[in-house]
């Protein structure tokens, strides 16, 4: 087995807390919230309904006579329940969020205002084309910006998320190989530091996955890549900047070697936010790349959607793009569908309609409000902020790749915690007590006890300092104060949770106590 895959300890460590405990178990105004089924009773209600004046029912003996078990609550009880639940969500609107754009970066309110314009918000996907010319024009402009920023000739707007975009990219690659009589190509090469979605996507499309080794300094090992490239390889999937927060400096050579054996170069564009306006993937030899609109163009992400992961395509792959796409002529804009000749080479379609209109509006609003120079500064600020964090913390914590600058993410390993009795998980939990959400932990898997910090471009120097000060104070406290970490968090509504028990014996359904 590969021990790159370092798991994390999850069993709570019992710690003798000297903290003040209340009589009821409450933690000040942070209430432990019961399920609505546990709070309500069927005999209570927030609304008064007039008695149903029915003499007879067609339901016969199917008419219910027993309570149906729905919770009944008064209006204030209902309001409080949901407001309290909402307060338990941590959010980018509450504090700096070191998981960064992978989960959420700041969503400018201007995007939201524009997405709510009735001309966009009230559209129906089956509206006649003549009535949605403005929306189609926006999709056309968005496509133009995406193609310009990436130096790629085509874009499929419809995929609904990054992983969906990966699927779209590989299906396009598969269609291109099939059209060339190259269906025997069975292998997709993926670096060891890849996002898990890369090998998962390749396997889902039916390819065999082979790993490319990583160099000491966190990049693709060119010699290993060259050894594994052959005419059986359909594609390689490389993230740039990669998941270690490093720019793949041999990216052009990677593309050249890949093309030399007739394979395609899929770039995982999850980290495009670090290079937007500075580097055009088309210039690097990329054939297909998804763009997570939430990561690069600030659309909302949380909770798994609704998202958008458009895929830009090279000249070689453009004919195989999925429908629909927007075209315009003297009669205005229209969508090219997969039922017409214009899209006959494409592999079909990814979704029922055209994609996530609300995300398109937000992303385009972000582009227009920043302009080309502003988008370039977004990338520069994201990289500058990450390097500031890396520089401030490197004295106390161990950077995984200390040599040279990072891109938009600062990556630390757990070397500096060795012998302290504290794990990465403990340190992350202690951050909660200090008022900060933990960073990405134990990913990428190639770094032992990884702590990956992405501050994003919107944090000010003061906020970055507040964050770094808290981490440095925690790092300094690790000697002689182990319980501060092993029992953390102490100040959260619930303390350390048993993730192992939750994974092994999940309770997926509430049942009334007998």
């Amino acid at each position: 087995m590969s021990l790159n895959n370092v798991g994390r300890p999850t069993r709570p460590t019992p710690a003798a807390s000297t903290a003040h405990t209340s009589l009821t178990g409450a933690r000040g105004l942070l209430q432990d919230e019961a399920l609505i089924f546990e709070m309500g009773g069927w005999d209570k209600t927030g609304v008064d309904l007039a008695p149903a004046d029915l003499d007879a029912s067609d339901l016969g003996d199917l008419v219910r006579t027993a309570p149906i078990g729905l919770p009944g609550l008064s209006e204030p009880e209902t309001v409080r329940h949901y407001v309290r639940l909402s307060q338990k969500n941590h959010a980018i609107d509450l504090a700096l969020y070191p998981l960064g754009s992978c989960t959420m970066k700041h969503n400018p309110r201007l995007n939201e205002k524009l997405a709510r314009l009735p001309g966009f918000a009230d559209l129906h996907p089956m509206s006649p084309v003549s009535t949605v010319q403005g929306a189609l024009a926006l999709m056309d402009r968005l496509a133009h910006w995406l193609k310009t920023m990436t130096a790629m000739p085509a874009v499929a707007l419809s995929p609904k998320a990054g992983a969906h975009g990966e699927l779209c990219g590989l299906l396009t690659i598969k269609a291109a190989h099939e059209a060339k009589g190259q269906s025997h190509r069975r292998i997709v090469l993926v670096p060891t530091s890849a996002h898990g979605t890369n090998p998962a996507t390749a396997a889902f499309v039916g390819y065999d996955v082979a790993e490319i080794a990583q160099t000491e300094d966190g990049r693709v090992d060119l010699a290993d890549l060259e050894a594994k490239l052959s005419t059986d390889v359909a594609a390689i999937m490389v993230t740039n900047p990669n998941t270690c927060g490093l720019f793949e400096r041999d990216i052009i050579e990677i593309a050249r070697l890949t093309h030399a054996v007739g394979a395609y170069f899929y770039c995982d564009g999850a980290n495009f936010n670090a290079i937007v306006g500075r580097v055009r993937p088309g210039d690097l030899g990329v054939d297909a790349m998804h763009i997570n609109l939430h990561k690069t163009f600030s659309t909302p992400h949380g909770g798994g959607g609704p998202g958008a992961g458009p895929v830009v395509l090279s000249e070689a792959l453009a004919p195989f793009a999925p429908a629909p796409w927007v075209v315009s002529d003297s009669k205005g804009f229209r969508l090219v569908e997969d039922t017409v000749d214009e899209a006959s080479a494409g592999f079909g379609r990814m979704v029922a309609f055209h994609g996530q209109m609300g995300m398109f509006v937000r992303a385009y609003a972000y582009m227009l409000s920043h302009g080309a120079d502003g988008l370039r500064q977004v990338a520069e600020d994201a990289v500058l902020n990450a390097n500031y964090v890396k520089a401030r913390l490197s004295g106390a914590m161990s950077a995984a790749f200390p040599d040279g600058p990072c891109m938009h993410e600062a990556l630390f390993d757990d070397h500096w915690l060795e012998g302290s009795g504290i794990t990465t998980l403990d340190f992350a939990k202690a951050m909660i007590d200090e008022g900060f959400h933990p960073m990405t932990m134990y990913f990428p898997l190639v770094v032992h006890g990884a702590m990956l910090i992405e501050p994003t471009e919107t944090e000010s120097l003061q906020e970055l300092d507040r964050f770094c000060d808290a981490l440095l104070a925690l790092a300094a406290a690790r000697a002689g104060d182990v319980e501060r970490f092993t029992g953390a968090p102490y100040l959260a509504p619930l303390k350390r949770l048993d993730e192992t028990l939750a994974a092994r014996k999940p309770k997926l359904r509430w049942l009334a106590e007998a």
Binding site: M1, L3, V6, G7, P9, T10, F443
Partner: protein
């Protein structure tokens, strides 16, 4: 008992090899929450995936240290994956394989060599 650099162990009884992961591997993985064992009857080659072990954060392949036919999988692990953490080099075994070539077993590290290898990590 013999060991691999990928932290699998093999114990031989006649021509039946019992395979699992080492105590070191189990500790490094953290709490195991799921184990996928191979179907009996399947033929495996040394170095190929034999089983999958999943801890709370990561899923890892367990490679077959020797070639042969799977004759038994440890069904008990599906209901009690924590056995891998509790008794990695005993009740937490993954599969039994009818060994195709005994020389393969002999070529693996013995306990002293494996312990020395761990020192280098």
């Amino acid at each position: 008992m013999r060991f691999t650099k990928d932290h699998e162990w093999v114990a031989l009884d006649g021509d039946v090899a019992t395979i699992g992961i080492t105590a070191y591997a189990a500790e490094q993985l953290g709490d195991v929450v799921f184990v996928e064992t191979p179907e009996p009857g399947k033929t495996v080659k040394a170095g190929e995936g034999l089983a999958v072990v999943e801890s709370v954060k990561a899923a890892s392949d367990v490679y077959a240290p020797v070639s042969g036919e799977v004759i038994e999988a440890n069904e008990a692990l599906s209901g009690a994956p924590e056995t891998v953490n509790d008794q990695p080099e005993g009740a937490g075994w993954f599969a039994r394989v009818r060994l195709a070539d005994k020389a393969q077993y002999e070529s693996l590290m013995d306990r002293a060599a494996y312990d020395a290898f761990l020192e280098t990590l």
